[in-house]
Subunit: 229 residues, 2 copies
Amino acid sequence: MGNGMVIKHIAYIQTDFKEKFGIPRQSGRVPSLMGRIVFLPEFRKSEALRGLEGFSHLWLIFDFSKAHREEWSPTVRPPRLGGNKRIGVFASRSPFRPNPLGLSCVKLVEIRHTPDEGDVLIVSGADLLDGTPIYDIKPYLPHVESHPDAVGGYADAVHDHKLLVEFPAELLEMLPEEKRQTAIDCLAEDPRPSYQEDAQRIYSMQFAGFDVHFRVVDGCVFVTGIDRI
Amino acid sequence: MGNGMVIKHIAYIQTDFKEKFGIPRQSGRVPSLMGRIVFLPEFRKSEALRGLEGFSHLWLIFDFSKAHREEWSPTVRPPRLGGNKRIGVFASRSPFRPNPLGLSCVKLVEIRHTPDEGDVLIVSGADLLDGTPIYDIKPYLPHVESHPDAVGGYADAVHDHKLLVEFPAELLEMLPEEKRQTAIDCLAEDPRPSYQEDAQRIYSMQFAGFDVHFRVVDGCVFVTGIDRI
């Protein structure tokens, strides 16, 4: 193909998010979010992972599979800028891009040997939808990819926006123990699509098999209910 | 497409390397290496870059266009390990991967407005072949992508391998002044395909329109001649 190429899924990731709403806006924002990367049978070979155990972080190049469009728009409205300011698509990490490729840095927790799925990568900090197809996995190279002094443009100003979270104990206890802090941390990231200031509105975040209902009042998340899906 | 997708070139990069030999093995290793990213007409829109000027570093997702193969191999032999140790392809940055996608972090030097090519990105530190097609450009997000404490596996042990370079002044002066230090820095990176210890062997690095001939003796590069191509 003269002007592009065909790329193939090599793996997919399992996460606690079956919907986009609630997923942290960048990888690593909620370090406790766990993911499980399962290779497709054709790419399920232990040798292909040899040496990976020595790296603490990985890059995932993945398919923004819910963001495929025929046309592309040169600008996007990042939710973190309130949803009303337009930024160039190449100055953003929006999924709606000419080639819907995502890039996330995750922590490698474990390479787990399984009888049915071969070697599975357990990762943390993933900001991916459950079932997202993956095109490539690469080791993170700190000596050339860690730039603590890099300037992050408009993203620098907004990245530490966090909400307080009021999660009543009797509701929190409905979640499995190992998911509780993660749910709180995801809510603190402010899952609202933009800074809507409607204190009456009830939002619902699907997480780990539960619907978590909440309102946001004066910068604080109040969880109002929780249902098993 | 159920099991993958078609991706399209959005831009290509112009660099001083028309051949793979001599290109530093990772982006940023030779910070003075300049590149010029030109968008294809369909993607040549100033608005698509709005806000990019505020970022110091960019990610390029590109086509390892000289590394397309019908079959993939689960292991590769990184040149930095001497070329005889096998590492899993997903634990390497080798171009020979199931999907030949490259990932490089470069510095954004300038967004240059040109009459014929629209807005061109001037970048530095690029480890890409001249003419490499690019699939995506994303801003580097230091608050989630800079991990100075990350562990870089086998790559940590070898990344600071550098050679001394003896470049006789009368040969060095044949290069344009602004290319001289860059040529020295690229040679110091040890362009040999593996640690061949044949002190008689003459290698040639094509760089910026010149053939630079050299030998390597006891960890030192001796430039022996230079020709305009």
